[in-house]
Symmetry: C3
Subunit: 218 residues, 3 copies
């Protein structure tokens, strides 16, 4: 069952990656590639840090979701007006699933809980970060109007706590993923924020996001 969940998460992220490719004017292969990086990148980095050959490359089935995502985006781009919101929902679903599975895998490898939560967060946000870095845009992860990493952290911490108290089972895992998903959507809906990196000062530099008041993404 875990593999079905993983494939779903990869697909959700891959759709977000392919939509980025569509918006940037890349071609079909770029769409598959960027979808693959978004969907599989976080897990590959996690497995490299766990010092094992990435599971992704062990079976061809992991590369099916990016292909399907690219075809889906190719076929349904007329419905493009609804895309930005849809991407965020897909992305939140992938985030919920990956933080939980990433933390779980690190705990199964006997990593300490702090590091396991970090690896779960890397699994969740790594693919999207790689998508943005490769596409040459400022990563969404750093958008100060959007607390992307907080739901990821909550999902990871809940997984680690449940695991440490022997309460973790697949159903609990799905619940944690759903809660992470809901937290992410709520953060978008209500525009939750955390303080900026600079405490009492901020001078916008070219390339940094403008600061003209709150702006809802959702």
């Amino acid at each position: 069952m875990l593999i079905v969940i993983e494939l779903l998460g990869i697909f959700f992220f891959a759709v977000a990656g392919s939509l980025m490719a569509a918006r940037r004017g890349f071609d079909m292969l770029g769409s598959v590639f960027l979808g693959g990086v978004t969907g599989l990148g976080g897990g590959v980095v996690r497995d490299l840090i766990l010092n094992e050959s990435p599971a992704t490359f062990g079976h061809p089935i992991y590369f099916l979701p990016p292909v399907l995502a690219a075809l889906l985006v190719y076929g349904f781009t007329p419905a493009i007006q609804k895309l930005h919101r849809l991407v965020l929902v897909f992305d939140a679903a992938g985030l919920g699933l990956f933080c939980m599975t990433g933390t779980l895998k690190a705990l199964q490898h006997d990593f300490n809980p702090v590091t396991a939560v970090l690896l779960g967060m890397i699994t969740g946000v790594g693919g999207g970060l790689m998508r943005d870095v490769i596409s040459n845009v400022t990563p969404d992860l750093f958008n100060p109007r959007d607390i992307y990493a907080i739901p990821a952290m909550i999902g990871g911490i809940l997984t680690a706590v449940c695991w440490n108290f022997g309460l973790f089972n697949p159903l609990v895992g799905v619940g944690i993923a759903a809660l992470t998903f809901a937290t992410r959507l709520a953060s978008l809906k209500f525009g939750w924020r955390i303080p900026l990196a600079a405490g009492h000062w901020h001078r916008p530099t070219p390339g940094s996001p403008p600061e003209n008041g709150p702006q809802r993404h959702f």
Copy 2:
């Protein structure tokens, strides 16, 4: 003989990397570094995914081609008008060699053919992708007017097919590399393309390449 071919491929890619450094106004060390990343980056990522210490770091000789490439670019920049075309030819030669050797190495590690072809493509396009990402430009790989990844895929698939039918030998390998090289040059010459990521719609965003008709690179 394989090592001579590898060193040639590294050199070809490194020249492309050093020329990027020259165009961006970097200095000599940046030129060596960017050449090294372009020439060695794809192979390093491949070896990390194969979960072994990158062959590149096993012997100092692998670092000679980037140094030579940087010196060559330093010495012959007056002939700069011809560079853009020359870079593409060098790059195509490196691509042909690396897709074949990368796929081969993955097959020798008992990876399945699909994954092996992907690793071959990563070996071929990874260095150039890292060059562009590090130089902070939109990767050439995603240029919709240029099907960089298709020749790489053809080279990888031919290698996997020959290997599976027991037909692979060094001569066949060189032939596959030459065919990949020729396909790449032909794609440049005739402006071959594949469909965009967005099927029926495309709105250019800032930073995406303009869409005013076909444009020959070659």
Copy 3:
């Protein structure tokens, strides 16, 4: 004692990363993340190339310096006018420490001296490079008015030479780090440079740094 030095180096780099986050308008989590990447990224890449699970993920204490650095930057940003110079000093201290420890670790893994020096340089400059690439700016490493990589190379070579002649001990290591630090500060103060990648020609392209004479960073 080595771990205290490592933690100090991580902290120095993390401050530079958090300051970048402050300048770009990222939030607190982005500040911790970017500080962590700057402080830990070079070592993680080194360990991946050495084909072992990154030491960073073995103990939670390695993640303390980025958190402290982010809090420091958050609390003391009113003193922002002095920051640019301060970042460079912190960064130079981290560079001095990491080139030495990185080269040392590679030598202890029986890598050849050339590769060990390269891995030391990667340890020293890798985190800053990742910081700039992730922040979507042209890496400082390639600034032709600033020879960042030369002090790193000197630190690595001195470490390898001392090691090969059996002269290396912790005190010598600290001395090498201090010398690297001093070389870096001197290169900033006196505006030392090396030749550009292009020998007799340079046409600035959009995005490349302007070329209107020497400019002191320090």
